[in-house]
């Protein structure tokens, strides 16, 4: 149970990092230390390291967007999630919490339930593509954690999202 709480705290930190686009936070957390030799060497943990969280966030894509009041996956979302599934099966040291979010147009309780539907739809897809279910947890933030703060569709569309938040969990 305490490990569970610890993971949750890590997740909270990662969420903040994602919100502020503070990439590279996890650079020091991945395996190995930098060789420091050769200009062409890939810095471990950087976005150029395909096993890094930064790579997952930026190159694979850690988030997908949803249509108003829907939890069905769009074609574009499925492409991103297929890449997430591939990455997760390559990088088996990681576990993930899938966050579901809603825009502000809706009551608090309904949006919590809607966010849960979205997170669950993502988890089901990833499992269907071969990711072990025990590596994936879900959480809904409803409308509590908007990324964009305007009250217009341009912002709402970015807030109706799920984010796959990685934690180096299994080997530690």
């Amino acid at each position: 149970m305490s490990g569970w709480t610890k993971a949750a705290l890590l997740v909270a930190g990662m969420t903040l990092a994602a919100c502020s686009n503070n990439d590279g936070l996890f650079g020091s957390g991945s395996s190995g230390t930098g060789t420091g030799t050769g200009a062409t060497a890939i810095e471990p943990g950087s976005v150029n390291d395909p096993t890094s969280v930064a790579y997952f966030q930026q190159t694979v894509g850690d988030r997908i967007l949803f249509v108003v009041d829907q939890s069905t996956l769009t074609d574009e979302a499925r492409l991103t999630l297929q890449s997430q599934a591939n990455w997760l099966m390559e990088n088996t040291d990681y576990v993930a919490v899938i966050e579901g979010h809603a825009d502000e147009q809706g009551t608090r309780e309904y949006n919590l339930a809607l966010g849960a539907r979205r997170a669950s739809a993502v988890k089901e897809f990833l499992v269907s593509r071969g990711v072990a279910g025990y590596r994936l947890n879900t959480v809904s933030y409803g409308k509590e954690r908007p990324l964009e703060i305007c009250s217009a569709e341009a912002c709402y569309s970015q807030n109706r999202r799920s984010v796959t938040v990685l934690t180096a969990g299994l080997s530690s």
């Binding site: 909270a12 147009q105 608090r108 309780e109 919590l112 988890k123 959480v139 703060i149």
Partner: protein, 437 residues
């Protein structure tokens, strides 16, 4: 909490007038038709001891503010008064109060001895020329002076309207600080009028939608302190809290007490599906009350404890349904345009308040418990989460303003739709307590 001692001043010579005015002319029948507030006067209460002057002034002002704040009463200011009340026992000069059209007159006296405060008061029906009800005396401590003022105002309100008051009550809510994308939330409690705020949690994790127990001593709420939303129960006095249910892989939210305080209904989400469950406050396995793949949430008991109103999108959109406390078949009660959520049964049992979303606007509304006679009381960019005053006459709710700098405030509105006013800034998710004992 301050304990108040209430003594009926009957038997004293000065209260020998028999109160027959209960059926007399001074009576506001609270109906949709009331638009002209009843004029009243509360001359400064008489300070009967040296230290009592400030309390006497503050308590008189608080009583006048409580009454005027209902929209049902209008205070005649002191500068218009002809008579001054300098002795609580002296006969009232009815003609002087008639002349300024004060239909109700409240007189009182305050005495202080050490930390002890005593307030006594009488209510007069000026035009009938007699006392309305009997004189009462409240005893308490000086730091409880606001509660004593609210108690007096409740008694005045009750004698004139014939209904229970709501001034000596509290509101538990979520205090909000910071921008929309980094909002800090913590549980807080205050008097119904926004005074005397105390914080019950820190802002280290998201907290949502607190709800009072029927005795007002406990609060149910949802917290993310484990990283996942979970229902907690908190003791208001000690601020001790515990998770109500703790099944890994699920989330729980939208809790509410049963009218006897023994049970909790709430939503539990498992594998993305949200249903309604009930469980004993003291523990045990949650009992599942709904089992459709739809979103079922925001349950609220009827005051007799026999039914639960809740929202479900089983029809395709959010609508309101009523079912037995044991679950089973549910009857849909909302049929208007738009979406309906967060239903709350009134303490009188006659109405259900709800949030309605239609054509990009949000409303707080009420309907009869069979769904008939729907009335919308408010309209804005985002109104949600109604809670009832203990007498079922006033509704408080959250209003969120739009845009990047938007924020949440608490508002209240009369069940007739009149008297909309702001109660507190930087606050959401109010829940009104019962009247305090």
């Amino acid at each position: 909490m301050t304990r108040l001692l209430i003594t009926l001043l009957a038997g004293l010579v000065m209260f020998s007038q028999v109160a027959t005015a209960q059926n007399g002319p001074l009576r506001i029948e609270i109906t949709d038709g009331v638009v002209e507030p009843l004029p009243f006067a509360v001359p400064n209460f008489v300070a009967e001891t040296g230290q009592a002057s400030q309390y006497a002034r503050d308590i008189s002002l608080l009583i006048a503010t409580d009454l005027s704040g209902t929209g049902l009463f209008r205070e005649i200011p002191a500068k218009a008064h002809i008579s001054k009340i300098t002795n609580f026992s002296s006969p009232v000069q009815y003609a002087d109060w008639k002349a300024i059209n004060a239909q109700a007159l409240v007189t009182g006296a305050v005495s202080v001895s050490g930390n002890n405060l005593e307030v006594k008061f009488r209510v007069y029906d000026v035009f009938a020329g007699q006392e309305l009800g009997s004189g009462l005396r409240f005893k308490g401590t000086t730091d409880g002076w606001r509660r004593m003022g609210h108690k007096v105002a409740d008694e005045v309100y009750s004698r004139i309207t014939g209904e229970g008051g709501y001034f000596d009550s509290r509101v538990v809510f979520v205090s909000e600080m910071g921008p929309k994308n980094d909002r800090k939330k913590r549980l807080a409690i205050m008097d119904y009028d926004g005074a005397d705020i105390h914080y019950l949690t820190d802002s280290s994790s998201i907290v949502l939608a607190p709800r009072f127990s029927p005795a007002g001593d406990k609060v149910l709420y949802t917290s993310y302190e484990t990283g996942f939303p979970q229902v907690f129960v908190l003791d208001v006095g000690s601020v001790q809290r515990r998770a109500l249910q703790n099944q890994k892989g699920t989330m729980s939210f939208a809790p509410r007490f049963s009218p006897d305080g023994s049970k909790v209904v709430m939503s539990i989400t498992e594998n993305g599906n949200t249903d309604i469950y009930s469980m004993a406050v003291n523990g045990g396995a949650p009992k599942r009350l709904t089992s459709s793949p739809a979103i079922e949430t925001a349950p609220s008991f009827s005051p007799d404890g026999s039914k639960i109103v809740f929202e479900s999108d089983r029809s395709g959109t959010q609508q309101l349904y009523v079912m037995s406390v044991n679950g089973g078949e549910a009857k849909r009660i909302s049929f208007g345009q738009g979406r309906y959520g967060t239903p709350v049964w009134s303490p009188r049992g006659d109405l259900i308040a709800f949030t309605k979303q239609n054509k990009g606007r949000f409303h707080i509304g009420v309907m009869r418990t069979d769904g008939s006679e729907e009335r919308l009381l408010t309209a804005s960019f985002l109104d949600e989460g109604p809670t009832w005053a203990p007498n079922g006459r006033v509704i408080m709710f959250t209003r969120e303003t739009q845009g990047a700098s938007g924020g949440a405030s608490l508002y209240s509105v009369d069940v007739s739709g009149r008297n909309l006013k702001k109660v507190a800034n930087g606050a959401s998710d109010p829940a009104w307590s019962p009247l305090q004992k």
